[in-house]
């Protein structure tokens, strides 16, 4: 990475405690200028708390936050070059759209004519030209969304913080806004820090994603790497779907090792994973990594026969639930809608194949306290 890339946001070992509960545990990361950075994690993992500390609405108990190299300790939110789009938007209902957007500019004492020009320019940017005089309650969910973002963007902050801004929208609109938000970010070039519990939002929009769990970062990587090379079982489970199969490593050599399940299935997995013979591991296998009725000529595949339990039709995301022979473990297998498998019914026995590089193993989790 080029050295001259400016770091817009730096977070170093930031910790936040509420009484004896630690909501954010020594989190560190940096965001380069113009990046779309997402923090992905289940609800309650500390995302909002982290974002509020960056915005200045909460003080970290420990650690340092810098924006464009300036230490933010002790600087109140109204003096920070970062703006926050709230989870429930927090548009001012007593003001119209233009007054909402002009609010921050007026606080800076900008001239009336400049404010007017900037407001109409940013409304143009977010595809709401001429909406100045509308009342907040007259707007649809997606329009409110855009006004909330415009209200922050018009201040040209170093970092724009977004707290699950699409959470309140219905599915169709959310899909659409995902794409629009990404386009908008590319257009304005502002650094975005976006938090969400929706993995698809994070994967689609971001340059980089940090997966957060119980107050700490599990992995910080590109969306593609998170999906293909999860660093921890939590990431493997949280990003995309996975089938989990417990077993043991046997006959390890340099290129491959064997993975045996207690119910007698034997697979080969690639040898670049650091397992000793006899190690107890969980095999993570994505539904879409499994091929139904693979081409017999294709030799490099692990193959097993399975019983179809049921078909779950969901358009492009259709699955079957299958159990391997002599096992009652249920596996989710992707069912491509290319008409090739239209004749499958529950009860059929099919062959399933998967490439040895798509199975990822983690040491079996000893169930500690939840």
């Amino acid at each position: 990475m080029a050295d001259d890339m400016q770091i817009d946001l730096g977070v170093e070992k930031v910790t936040k405690k509420f009484k004896d509960f630690t909501a954010v545990k020594a989190v560190s990361f940096e965001v380069e200028q113009g990046r779309f950075f997402s923090i992905l994690g289940p609800s309650g993992c500390g995302k909002t708390t982290l974002l509020r500390m960056i915005a200045g609405l909460a003080e970290p108990d420990n650690g340092r936050i810098t924006i464009r190299g300036l230490n933010m300790a002790g600087i109140p939110p109204n003096k920070r070059p970062a703006n926050l789009v709230f989870q429930h938007l927090a548009l001012f209902p007593m003001m119209n759209v233009a007054d909402n957007i002009a609010f921050g500019l007026q606080r800076r004492g900008e001239k009336k004519a400049t404010v007017f020009k900037k407001v109409s320019a940013i409304l143009e940017r977010v595809d709401l030209p001429g909406f100045e005089k509308k009342k907040i309650h007259e707007l649809s969910g997606g329009q409110k969304q855009r006004v909330a973002i415009a209200r922050c963007l018009v201040l040209e902050p170093a970092v724009l913080l977004l707290d699950e801004p699409l959470g309140a929208l219905d599915l169709k609109l959310r899909e659409q806004m995902k794409v629009e938000l990404k386009k908008l970010q590319a257009k304005v070039g502002t650094t975005f820090v976006y938090i969400t519990h929706d993995q698809s939002e994070a994967l689609v929009m971001s340059d980089q994603v940090a997966v957060m769990n119980k107050g700490h970062f599990e992995q910080l990587d590109t969306p593609k790497n998170l999906y293909n090379r999860p660093a921890t079982p939590f990431v493997a489970r949280f990003v995309g779907d996975n089938n989990i199969w417990s077993g043991h490593i046997r006959d390890r050599d340099n290129n491959t090792c064997r993975f045996e399940t207690p119910d007698g299935n034997v697979f080969h997995i690639s040898g670049d994973q650091p397992w000793r013979n006899g190690a107890a591991v969980d095999l993570f296998l994505r539904p879409e990594a499994m091929i139904i009725q693979p081409d017999p000529a294709h030799t490099g595949l692990n193959r097993f026969e399975a019983h179809i339990r049921s078909l779950l039709f969901d358009g492009a995301n259709s699955r079957i639930i299958a159990t391997p022979k002599n096992s009652d473990r249920e596996l989710l297998v992707a069912l491509p809608q290319n008409r090739q498998h239209d004749d499958l019914c529950p009860g059929d026995i099919v062959e399933i194949g998967w490439d040895k590089s798509s199975g990822i193993c983690f040491a079996t989790e000893t169930e500690t306290s939840p």
Binding site: G56, P76, N78, L84, H88, A90, F92, M94, F103, R107
Partner: protein, 285 residues
């Protein structure tokens, strides 16, 4: 079915109508009638406007009237200035557990009668009172000072008496204010003053107006506090009415004054609603 409804309606409406006519409409009609009557020396009665005329002719009457109006407005504004931070503290700063306790503290003085409440202030403020005692002990004063019987003491008493009626509507309206609006304003660069005047006050306007109406009417119609805490020169218009009814036994003059007070309070409330852009319907809700 419809027969039942009719009876039900009749059943519930009767007490309301009785209350309205017997206790509000009838006495006022009678007062209105009285206010236009002049009793001559011979005991005969004539229809005249002289009761109203004497109000304008006699400066002590209309000066008291104007004084009462202006002081009531001042008391209302002062009550608002004190009650707004108190209500804000109760709803937004205090922990949820202590909120009920704080409301109880506001409510507590109202469990005793106004007379006792005013007497409490008199014990504190009078020449031989608690405050003078301590100031003398501490050597800040070397001569006791009479703090009672002046306009300031009277306004203090009136504001204290009115607090609850401002705090209750303000607390309820501030409870509905989303904290994130305040945080958003702060995040967008606003300072405390801007947050108060651009976010909190506009949101709280219906509560402010309804609290102000109640406080204004109660203050305007108060008799006890101005009488006990105000000085010889702090005459309240209710005292004039009292004098006419009880001291001078001139019921006709008293009735005219009563009507003028009613007109005054209606007029100022109407003006307040107009200025704040509220309607009575919105405020009462």
């Amino acid at each position: 079915m419809t027969q039942h409804r009719k009876w039900g309606l009749f059943f519930f409406l009767t007490p309301v109508l009785l209350w309205l006519t017997l206790l509000i409409v009838l006495p006022h009609i009678d007062l209105l009638r009285m206010s236009f009557i002049l009793e001559t020396d011979t005991g005969e009665t004539e229809w005249r406007l002289s009761n109203y005329a004497s109000f304008f002719k006699e400066p002590i009457y209309w000066l008291t009237f104007v004084r009462t109006a202006i002081y009531s407005i001042i008391v209302t504004l002062l009550t608002l200035v004190v009650a707004l931070p108190v209500s804000f503290f109760i709803t937004k700063v205090a922990r949820p557990g202590t909120r009920g306790f704080l409301m109880l503290l506001i409510l507590l003085p109202f469990w005793v009668s106004e007379l006792v409440r005013v007497y409490g202030w008199m014990i504190l403020l009078r020449e031989s009172g608690v405050i003078n005692h301590f100031l003398l002990k501490l050597g800040i004063l070397d001569q006791p000072v009479e703090m009672l019987y002046n306009d300031a003491a009277m306004i203090l008493g009136l504001v204290y008496t009115s607090m609850l009626f401002m705090v209750v509507p303000l607390v309820s309206v501030l409870e509905s204010l989303d904290d994130s609006l305040i945080e958003a304003a702060y995040d967008l660069g606003a300072d405390m003053g801007t947050i108060v005047f651009k976010i909190i006050v506009p949101h709280a306007t219906p509560g402010i107006v309804s609290g102000a109406i109640v406080v204004f009417m109660l203050t305007l119609g108060n008799y006890l506090t101005p009488n006990l805490m105000g000085g010889k020169n702090s005459l309240w218009f209710t005292e004039q009415i009292y004098n006419q009814f009880i001291a001078s036994f001139n019921w006709n003059q008293g009735a005219a004054f009563g009507f003028l007070l009613l007109l005054l309070s209606s007029g100022i409330v109407w003006l307040g609603l107009k200025l704040s852009g509220q309607t009575l319907g919105k405020v009462v809700r």
